[in-house]
Symmetry: C2
Subunit: 221 residues, 2 copies
DNA sequence: ATAAAAATTTAGATTAGCCTAAATTTTTTA
DNA sequence: TAAAAAATTTAGGCTAATCTAAATTTTTAT
């Protein structure tokens, strides 16, 4: 096994392919990747060929790309780095949950398994990052979440907020202003047919949230 | 003032120029830089021109290069990052002092003054890194060390070890095996004329160390 | 003070990652 | 199912950072 040092760019491609194939569970298209990575489709084609040479992806011309076992393990390891650094930033350096993504995006590429293992221990082996996303273990095992969007919940159900689908700073700040946090108990009081908004109750106070919001809040019963 | 995002490479050039000009206090030569950065002189010429365009260095063809005020502040800020990360790695993640250099070399390039300020606070505003090197403050002020090489000490003097000149892993491991640490009290018992070795006493035990070692141990009285 | 040696710069390539424009393949639609 | 539209790839270029080889300048040594 050749220990191939990957560039930041290559690592970001693997992460993007991982996240897109996770969602659709089929080969990832060039255009889709281009959009995700904010580059042109032709650039994707170039890089994907390179990753295929390195046995990190399986690529069939015009058909799309999928991670190999090796590529998947690499992607998961970067995600592990990212999420552990996010925990560090929030728990130890007092960053807010909407401030850590871009920093973790840089830190995730620091190369040293020893560093990550020690960071993991220092943080007491956290299982989830500040947004509720599961942290893969060092062997690449990752919890498959049993959560679902709040949008799916029936009227009258009580659930716990366990994650967010959208980790954008704007969305997280919105949740902050309504005191919506991971772990909060949330009850569906009413669902509006015409715009799919919901009347919900958190901490004894009721208010209405849009479909855009309910789609991006993840709950567990 | 244009906020110029520098590449890792550019940052490393600035650090190298800073460290070489600190030692000699004159313009840094192309060959000298090439050796330090392990590249060819022609590459140095190219990059130095680029840094000059960005007003980070003053460069006169065939005469060498010096940092401008702006370049010096940038270099010092990277050194601050480096040394704070080293403290983190040793104090919080239990790395040994000979293991942290390469990791800090990666971490120092993470871009965020907020991150560094918070790391600084988390570490309780340390003044020196694990090798005894002073940590610049956020304004770029850096302690000028009053230390000198042990090699200069007279027979009979008692001093405290406050730093190392050479932070290579091999040298630091050597010091570990002889239980030589920062803060240790060291007494010069004897100096050998023919090879400049010294007989010294630390913690009541006496042994001899070579000139190579005494040159690289920094002391204060 | 000039010739030889050393240091430095210039010229011309190379690689990674990206781009635009044109060509090709696949998918959609009528 | 064939023409139009969409997706994808190819071809050819660009920039950053490096290299080698050749040219130039500075320094050293006689």
């Amino acid at each position: 096994m050749v220990k191939t040092e990957l560039s930041y760019t290559e690592e970001n491609y693997l992460k993007a392919i991982f996240s897109l194939s996770r969602k659709s569970d089929t080969a990832v298209s060039t255009n889709h990747l281009a959009e995700k990575l904010d580059t042109k489709p032709s650039s994707i084609t170039d890089m994907v060929k390179k990753l295929a040479d390195k046995k990190l992806v399986d690529y069939v011309k015009y058909k799309g790309v999928l991670l190999t076992k090796k590529g998947k393990l690499t992607a998961i390891s970067i995600i592990r780095n990212h999420r552990l650094w996010e925990v560090f930033l929030v728990d130890k350096l007092d960053f807010k949950w909407d401030e850590v993504h871009d920093l973790a995006e840089q830190l995730e590429h620091i190369k040293s398994t020893q560093l990550i293992d020690r960071l993991d221990a220092f943080l007491n082996h956290p299982t989830h990052d500040p947004h509720g996303d599961p942290i893969p273990d060092k062997n690449g095992n990752i919890e498959l979440r049993m959560s679902e969007p709040l949008a799916n919940a029936e009227v009258g159900t009580n659930s716990i907020i366990v994650g967010v689908h959208d980790s954008s700073s704007d969305f997280l700040k919105f949740l902050d202003t309504f005191k919506i946090k991971l772990g909060s108990e949330i009850k569906v009081i009413q669902k509006e047919k015409f715009d799919n908004s919901m009347l919900i109750e958190i901490d004894k106070s009721q208010f209405s949230i849009s479909h855009q919001v309910t789609k991006n809040l993840l709950i567990k019963n």
